[in-house]
Amino acid sequence: MLPFIFAALLAFIVIMYVILDGFDLGLGILFPFTTSETDRDKMMNSVAPVWDGNETWLVFGGAMLYGAFPKVYGTLLPILYMPLMLMLIGLIFRGVSFEFRFKAVRSKQLWNWIFAISSISAAFFQGVVLGCFVQGFPINPDQTIVNETVWLTPFSLLTGVALVCGYGLLGATWMIIKSEGSLQRQMIHFAKGLLVLVSIFLIFVSIWTPLHDVQIFNRWYSFPNILFLAPLPLITALMVILTWKSLKKGDERKPFFYSIVIFLCSYAGIAISVYPYLIPRQLTFWDAAAPDSTLTFILVGVAIMLPVLLAYTLYAYHIFRGKTDHGGYH
């Protein structure tokens, strides 16, 4: 039971990260397409007080994997060495851009570009890692990898690009809430384009994955699974339509929340496909879990601290609610 709770917890942490840092990174992804410096100030200001907390979910995910599934942490991370390192370097530059850009005068353009490129590369390599994870990889019995470029496949590159678009969509719909006037109109425009791209990627991945993996195929298309699972793609499709409609109507909040639901559905789809593996076809979360003494100890901390930290995180968002100005409240 404990391993199951921790697998669920890990899933929760990862999706929290994906959604929260997703819209931060999304703003960076949209940076090159914006027109005015004031708009870029507003975009950055809209997440400046919260980005650090959002990124903390990534640290939390790492720490939980480390503590609760050390075998996975010790095996998976060396395999994904390169994409993870490149993602981290992206995150380094993305993170310092917040501080540096606001202090820069002459080099502001430089930090605009660094913020954009590092956000894009961090998102891209997260997508690559995701693609690798879904695809699985061959591991020797002594846990050394066969091929150092095992992470570099057409599929993983595709999921990389897909995640960049997905984060872009989250960023654009977040900014619709936080902005008004021309910037908001521009964001609606971006969101529409990105929604189309995201839909295309979703359809492609949904078709490609089961065709290339018998186990995933059987999970989705065998009877009676197909009856239980059919609603998921249908809900996803419905959400895409709802997002589109709310964008057309000019709703401020709905597109962001519908986009989140699209993410949740896609994420659930991946979870269903790989369950109960933490390293696909190699290691299940049952086998990888740390001993009960460790899991119990961590669970006590999670049970006490998670509600508390969710409460104050929510409070922090509450303090900074409303439209963002380009220099106003700082």
């Binding site: 004031t38 100030d41 950055m44 400046a48 007080p49 650090d52 907390g53 990124e55 903390t56 640290v59 939390f60 720490a63 939980m64 480390y66 503590g67 609760a68 599934f69 050390p70 075998k71 942490y73 010790g74 991370l77 060396p78 060495y81 390169m82 390192m85 490149l86 981290l88 370097i89 995150l91 380094i92 993170g95 310092v96 917040f98 501080e99 540096f100 606001f102 202090k103 820069a104 502001k108 002594d142 990898i145 150092e148 001993p291 003494s293 460790t294 100890f297 961590i298 901390g301 999670v302 601290m305 930290l309 104050y312 995180t313 922090a316 303090i319 900074f320 220099g327 409240y329 700082h330």
Partner: protein
């Protein structure tokens, strides 16, 4: 020969050595900000608010660096030291999970309020936010030092089927060397911060600007140093006694002691030779090493030669970094007393030579902290977890090229980022309060990202 092992260790040592600079400053700076903001709430004097706003900028800049370099570490442990994780994740991973739960979210959650919330929350709430960030940074140090101390002397576990299973978490967290090492690290940070604050204040005095702020800061820093530096030396002594008890070979490496003996001399200077297992050009004071470590003139100290060569730590780096740390500590002690003397003569704010001296020694706190850390980590070798796992067995089976490429990329990234950090740091210090003075301090929100506003 360049191996994955050496490169992985170099890479991690580089990353963590880079990272530790920022928390070292901020752990102390946070406490300073809490005190200053508390003083402001109590006295309502604008000088305290000016100090808060100015130093919060530096805190924010440094915090950003700490966050981005810290996240690298969280994953680098896994990428570079997979077998270590597979074996000890049961124990250490839990501590990191607790660190995130109790420290990182707290810091991140209230940092936003601390930086951007001046106008959005009442002053007392803002003070609470600053206090919570400070508590967060301290809790973070708590867990990291707990995990590191466990690696120095593991406790609270059982070995079942070749796996390390924890049977007492209290013993894991509060392992024998933990508390003295935690206090030693916290005070290292406070000392470092004291002298950084003193240096910036001295710079203002030399430039003859922001005099009131400069005097308040310098005076505070030097009173604090007068208490903290001697305290740190006493704590260091306690740590030394613990090291001797739990890791006698580390003590031997620190003291450059090859033979086990009573009344061991303090080696002031020498060139330790690992190959010949002896010191060259040694200058010694008889009996003093025994006195310092055991508090008896004829106390027995274990020598390095009591174990096989392969089980000895590299002596030279431990020996020298220990001396660098202690030397800087004594220099700081002298400086703190000199400040007291100048204060008595009523020339603390006039003695330009002392202000220049403060500028000169500002980086030394960081040097001492890193040197102390090197002493602890290299002194633990050849073990990654003392007496349980050798470092060479902890290395991931990754390709040499991968480690080289990532090392080069990291070095480049950190080089670029650090240069900009220093550039903006010096710019902030150079601007001083001028950007703050333009507006009404009581009204205008903190200038975290207001270049646009000021320019327009």
């Amino acid at each position: 020969m360049i191996t994955v092992e050496i490169l992985s260790r170099a890479q991690f040592g580089f990353s963590i050595g880079f990272h530790i600079l920022f928390p070292t400053l901020n752990l102390g700076l946070a406490v300073f900000l809490v005190i200053m903001e508390g003083m402001w709430l109590k006295t309502n004097k604008p000088v305290y608010k000016a100090i808060c706003k100015f130093w919060t900028k530096i805190f924010a800049l440094t915090f950003g660096m700490g966050v981005v370099s810290g996240i690298v570490l969280a994953y680098q442990i896994g990428t570079n030291f997979g077998p270590f994780i597979s074996q000890f994740g049961n124990v250490l991973g839990a501590l990191f999970a607790y660190e995130t739960l109790t420290a990182f979210f707290l810091e991140a959650g209230f940092l936003g309020v601390m930086l951007f919330g001046w106008d959005r929350v009442p002053p007392f709430f803002h003070f609470v936010a600053t206090l919570l960030v400070t508590i967060g940074t301290t809790i973070s140090a708590f867990w990291i030092l707990s995990a590191n101390s466990w690696m120095q002397f593991p406790s609270g576990y059982q070995i079942v089927d070749g796996k390390y299973i924890v049977d007492n978490w209290w013993d894991v967290v509060f392992n024998p060397t933990f508390i003295p090492r935690l206090v030693h690290m916290a005070f290292a940070s406070y000392v470092t911060t004291c002298f950084v604050i003193a240096a910036v204040a001295s710079y203002f005095l030399i430039k003859n600007k922001h005099i009131e702020v400069a005097k308040t800061c310098l005076s505070f820093a030097m009173w604090a140093a007068l208490i903290i530096v001697p305290a740190q030396i006493l704590i260091g002594d306690v740590v030394g006694v613990h090291v001797l008890k739990y890791q006698p070979l580390k003590t031997a490496a620190m003291e450059g002691l090859w033979e086990t003996r009573r009344g061991a001399p303090l080696v002031l200077f020498a060139l330790p030779s690992q190959e010949e297992q002896r010191n060259e050009y040694a200058i010694e004071i008889p009996g003093l090493a025994s006195l310092i470590n055991t508090h008896h003139w004829d106390g027995e100290l274990v020598g390095l030669k009591s174990v096989a060569k392969a089980d000895q730590p590299r002596v030279a780096p431990v020996f020298f970094s220990f001396r660098i740390m202690v030397g800087i500590g004594l220099l700081f002690l002298a400086t703190a007393f000199m400040a007291l003397f100048l204060r008595w003569r009523d020339t603390l704010f006039k003695a330009k030579w002392f202000h220049r001296w403060c500028l000169l020694i500002a980086p030394l706190g960081f040097v001492a902290s890193v040197a102390g850390w090197l002493t602890a980590e290299i002194g633990r070798q050849p073990w990654v977890v003392y007496n349980l796992m050798r470092t060479k067995d902890a290395i991931s089976a990754v390709g040499l090229e991968e480690v080289i490429i990532s090392m080069v990329l990291l070095a480049l990234a950190y080089g670029v980022v650090f240069s900009f950090y220093l550039y903006y740091l010096f710019k902030l210090i150079k601007d001083g309060m001028t950007k703050l003075d333009k507006q009404d301090l009581d009204h205008l929100p903190f200038q975290y990202m207001s270049e646009t506003k000021v320019d327009k």
